[in-house]
């Protein structure tokens, strides 16, 4: 099942009108609504992975979704290692995926 926001008119908790926001993800503008986490906005685009592991370059995205695993970290407005699942998206946020190569000595 794809990750997607529930349309407001079908949402059983009957929220008030959503305030749209736009953030940029690796340079692409992406729309969301106020209150969503960055991870929520990214997942709604259909993108499931936005980081690679240092050793094998394997894809990582949202794993625990509750701030424990630190797998979903991104750079937000220049601040690195931000947990996408814990940060509310703010209108105009500049989000960049991040990857740290292993140093030569550790290969």
């Amino acid at each position: 099942m794809p990750a997607r926001p529930v349309p407001a008119h079908r949402d059983p908790i009957r929220p008030g009108a959503a305030t749209p926001i736009v953030i940029s993800i690796d340079g692409d503008p992406v729309s969301g609504v106020e209150g969503q986490t960055i991870a929520g906005v990214v997942l709604a685009t259909g993108r499931l992975a936005w980081r690679r592991t240092s050793v094998d370059g394997r894809p990582r995205g949202l794993f625990c979704g509750i701030g424990v695993c630190f797998d979903c970290i991104v750079t937000v407005n220049g601040e690195r290692d931000v947990r996408a699942c814990q940060r509310r998206a703010g209108d105009g946020d500049v989000v960049e995926s991040q990857h740290d190569e292993l140093p030569e000595a550790a290969r």
């Binding site: 290692d81 740290d100 292993l102 550790a106």
Partner: protein, 394 residues
């Protein structure tokens, strides 16, 4: 000569012994109360260190163990194939530094004594240390580089040793707790009473780490091994800025102390994933697992002395475990001189991952009556330095 052995404990020491004995043709059963590698083996940093040991039997054992690891890693990789995870063996080297004026000379003298014992311990100028570790505090007062310090992923290593032992016919039974001994009329140990019934044994090898004391008691023997608690902090992932095992020269003093009160000494290294591990602490508080803020605070504060950049790091989690502490700071490896049929391999304190392979070789030589690769007498339960504790405990 022993033909079948029941090993109590599926940590790395039990696993290494199981594999070595099974490869030698001995029938092996491993009994483990919890899951494999669920105790001390999973709660450390996977250190294979020669740098933290002064001249003596433990250093001899560590140097011998260091010579065994590279071949073992290759053998296990060949045997278990690409589907088995890598043991993450890495000979990254250790860098030991002094951070005070008073600490410089003792560190250099310690390294000189290790060199005399055959350790590659290179006293290097502070500038060279900063080339090895550009993010290190430039205020260090002395530095020694140990190229032979290495690390391994201890849980994967334990599972790999067990997998190989199984390939050579060993049985590994988890969730089985030993509750008592079966003895014959002469008092010889001939089996174990367990929560899954009686298990006959030609010989019993006790390799239950810090729990070896209570297990020995259940078998009617006194073994003065006690838990010594330690904690490690884990930062969030970050770009790699720590390239060796870097530790404060006062670490050796902490490992060799018998003080029960809290001691901390800074040990910093990064993992392949990009997290940084901050240790270390030592205290004797029984099997108390509670998280303690004062311990965490002290470890974090001391880490900043080595790497000031860590002041901005976030701690993602902390974990702790219990080292099997011996009052004379040497493991017990070999036959019990009081109970026929009982053997020991425990009490390695914080060095059991590295020493496991050497321990296994000594055990195999002892059980099969073959030539020991190094002198096993200093590790015998009957050694003089342990006598007062066997009496006191009795």
């Amino acid at each position: 000569m022993v033909s079948d052995v029941v090993i109590v404990g599926a940590g790395i020491v039990g696993a290494a012994c199981a594999r070595a004995l099974a490869v030698a043709g001995v029938r092996v059963t491993v009994l483990e109360r919890g899951a494999a590698a669920s105790g001390t083996s999973a709660k450390g940093e996977g250190n294979l260190l020669v740098s933290d040991k002064g001249p003596g039997p433990e250093l001899d054992l560590a140097v011998y163990a260091a010579s065994l690891w590279p071949d073992l890693v290759d053998e296990l990789a060949d045997e278990l194939g690409p589907a088995f995870p890598s043991l993450e063996y890495e000979r990254k080297g250790g860098l030991v530094v002094a951070t005070t004026a008073a600490g410089a000379e003792p560190l250099r003298a310690f390294a000189a004594s290790q060199r005399a014992a055959g350790v590659d311990a290179r006293a290097i100028p502070n500038g060279t240390a900063l080339e090895l570790e550009p993010w290190l505090n430039p205020e260090i007062t002395a530095a020694v580089h140990y190229p032979d310090d290495a690390q391994v992923q201890p849980v994967i290593a334990t599972e790999a040793l067990l997998a190989s032992a199984r390939n050579h016919g060993a049985a590994v039974r988890t969730g089985v707790e030993v509750t008592g001994a079966k003895r014959d009329a002469s008092g010889r140990l001939i089996g174990l009473v367990t929560t899954a019934g009686d298990v006959p044994a030609g010989a019993v090898l006790l390799a239950a780490g810090p729990w070896s004391g209570e297990t020995a008691r259940a078998l009617g023997a006194i073994l003065p091994v006690r838990p010594r608690r330690g904690m490690v902090l884990v930062t969030t992932r970050m770009p790699h800025r720590v390239f060796h095992k870097v530790y404060d020269g006062d670490y050796f003093g902490a490992t060799q102390s018998s003080d029960a009160a809290l001691q901390t000494s800074s040990v910093v290294e990064s993992t392949a994933a990009g997290t940084v591990l901050l240790g270390s602490s030592r205290e004797q508080v029984g099997f108390d697992e509670r998280l303690r803020v004062d311990v965490i605070r002290e470890i974090a504060t001391k880490a900043l002395r080595l790497f000031p950049f860590l002041a901005n790091a976030s701690i993602m989690r902390a974990y702790g475990g219990f080292r099997p502490f011996m009052p004379d700071h040497l493991p017990v490896i070999g036959e019990d001189h009081r109970i026929a049929g009982l053997w020991h391999a425990s009490g390695h304190e914080g060095a059991g991952i590295g020493l496991s392979l050497a321990t296994a070789e000594l055990l195999v030589a002892g059980m099969l009556g073959t030539a020991a690769p190094i002198d096993a007498a200093p590790f015998g339960l009957a050694r003089a330095s342990l006598a007062p504790y066997l009496e006191e405990a009795a």
